[in-house]
């Protein structure tokens, strides 16, 4: 084969692989849209499921997922951001620092079912939260910590040292410098990581399966110690309950479409924030 045609072949190969990625996303979205758009209306979003999840809406699991994200946010944002501050601003460089980096990187690689087991052992039994919203929220919080830490660390490191020097030279303490300068300037990057991590938490099934999600609840959770319904598990539950072609099928696609819209919507918000703020602070 001549060099020219070989060049063409490889080029086609690369382009094909790229197209495959786009196709995958387009297919998923199209498939869910075609299957589920018929289900989505106001009633679907505001009414609880009926008749063993085969009819009615997704109000209860949708609210459960939103509550869950609230708990994840309340736990993982402060812990993740502050530990990133520690890693960048306070941790002395050296062996301990690289040890920390490895810990965080490996934390991100732990399979989600293992987090589920951790949550079951730690939050459900040891701390006695039972199978509950709180146990699931904290489990998911631990799961997304590495995402938040990585994003926050990158954003904090991108704030130039000259800004820190300026603040310290005016007699600010290290904390004042972090609080008034480093964190605000790093906020866009941190927010992006936060939103991505929340959308990841919204879609996880395995950890909540072990720590508190319910197949069916007659209402939204009364407290953080209640069990709850959540969209990803609801999709599984309905899908395995339904005989193909019956009305339940629409429920599955409708629920999946709602979850997909939630997650993609959040990712778009993250992209918009990143784009808008990238202009604002230029060094």
């Amino acid at each position: 084969m001549s060099r020219r045609s070989r060049e063409k072949l490889y080029f086609a190969l690369f382009r094909g692989c790229g197209a495959l990625v786009v196709m995958a996303l387009v297919t998923i979205i199209a498939y869910m849209l075609i299957g589920g758009i018929g289900a989505i209306d106001l009633d679907f979003l505001t009414e609880p499921p009926r008749a063993s999840n085969t009819r009615g809406g997704i109000f209860t699991p949708l609210i459960g997922t939103l509550y869950l994200m609230g708990i994840v946010a309340a736990f993982a944002i402060p812990v993740g951001v502050l530990s990133a501050v520690y890693l960048v601003e306070y941790q002395k460089q050296g062996r301990m620092a690289s040890f920390w980096r490895i810990v965080v990187a490996n934390l991100a690689g732990v399979p989600s079912i293992v987090y589920g087991l951790l949550g079951l052992g730690l939050f459900v039994y040891f701390l006695g939260f039972g199978r509950s919203l709180l146990a699931s929220g904290l489990t998911l919080g631990v799961l997304v910590l590495p995402i938040i830490i990585a994003a926050a660390r990158e954003a904090i490191q991108a704030v130039p040292p000259s800004v820190r020097e300026a603040s310290l030279a005016l007699g600010a303490t290290k904390w004042q410098t972090v609080r008034h300068h480093v964190l605000p300037y790093a906020m866009p990057g941190i927010l992006t990581g936060v939103i991505l991590s929340l959308s990841r938490a919204a879609g996880e099934t395995a950890p909540i399966l072990l720590t508190g999600v319910a197949f069916y609840m007659s209402g939204t959770p009364g407290s953080v110690f209640s069990q709850f319904m959540a969209l990803p598990y609801h999709i599984y539950a309905v899908a395995t309950q339904t005989i193909s072609g019956m009305s339940g099928n629409l429920m599955v696609y409708g629920s999946a479409l709602a979850l997909l819209a939630l997650v993609i919507g959040m990712n778009i918000v993250a992209i918009v924030i990143r784009k808008r703020y990238r202009e604002k602070y230029r060094w």
Binding site: K92, Q93, P160, S162, V163, R164, E165, A166, S167, L168, A169, L170, G171, A172, T173, Q176, H180, H181, Y185, K280, Y281, R282, W283
Partner: protein, 250 residues
């Protein structure tokens, strides 16, 4: 008694002996220039005066620096108070990416000024003092990043003056500026010495000759010579100084 008395000052970065037995007296309300070739320790030296070297983990300091008789490296010293009394302006203008107003009020705020009127007064006074007020008074709420390099540097000077320091350290403040902006900063420096003690590091010997009352020449971490600027440039005591100022070294 001189305002700043440096005694047996030694600084190391890990094993690198950056400053060696420096003894130097710096007079109040004067401009003292520090000159010397790159890497001679001049920046390191002025950063020991407001203890900015503390932020570098590998740095260790021995000896004493007394300001008005109090040792900066003594026990029970609050570094933030030192840096409030001894301001610093850096080589590259480094305003905060905030409004001009917010740049000035940050330091007074963290040192306890809360009253809006008082802060407004500080902003005007500091900007006037740094010869920037007339250029920016109509756009105090605009980003400091819209200013030119020279204006940014004067903003940084105003920011340092906002907490009413006694001493202001300048670490090559004009090296990133054009000649016109440089001239403005030099005029400002001469004006500032009525109220402040000024120590300026410069790689530009003409600049030292133009603005400084006394000049110190550093070489390889040692203070070679310190004296009246005119005398030092016309009749240096040391052979090394002469070689440097005549351009045969450095």
């Amino acid at each position: 008694m001189s305002q700043i008395e440096v005694r047996d000052l030694n600084v190391w970065f890990d094993k690198n002996h950056a400053l060696k037995n420096v003894n130097m007296d710096i007079e109040g309300k004067r401009i003292t220039a520090i000159i010397g070739p790159s890497g001679c320790g001049k920046s390191t030296f002025i950063r020991t005066i407001n203890r900015m070297n503390d932020t570098i983990p590998s740095c260790s300091v021995k000896g004493s620096i007394k300001v008005d008789g109090n040792d900066l490296y003594g026990e029970d010293i609050d570094v933030t108070q030192i840096r409030k009394r001894i301001g610093m302006v850096f080589q590259k203008p480094n305003p905060f990416p905030k409004s001009i107003y917010e740049n000035i009020v940050f330091a007074p705020r963290i040192h306890g000024v809360r009253d809006r009127k008082a802060l407004d007064a500080i902003v005007e006074r500091s900007l006037r003092r740094a010869a920037l007020w007339d250029e920016v008074k109509d756009r105090l709420d605009k980003s400091a990043y819209n200013l030119s390099g020279g204006q940014q540097q004067r903003l940084c000077i105003a920011r340092a003056l906002a907490v009413e320091p006694e001493i202001v350290l300048f670490d090559e403040p004009c090296s990133a500026l054009d000649p016109i902006a440089t001239a403005k900063i030099e005029d400002l420096l001469i004006d500032l010495k009525n109220d402040y003690t000024v120590v300026i590091v410069t790689h530009n010997m003409q600049q030292a000759a133009r603005v400084a009352d006394t000049t110190a020449f550093f070489y390889l971490g040692e203070l070679i010579e310190h004296g009246d600027t005119q005398r030092l440039f016309e009749k240096p005591d040391e052979k090394l100084t002469e070689q440097y100022i005549t351009g045969r070294m450095g």
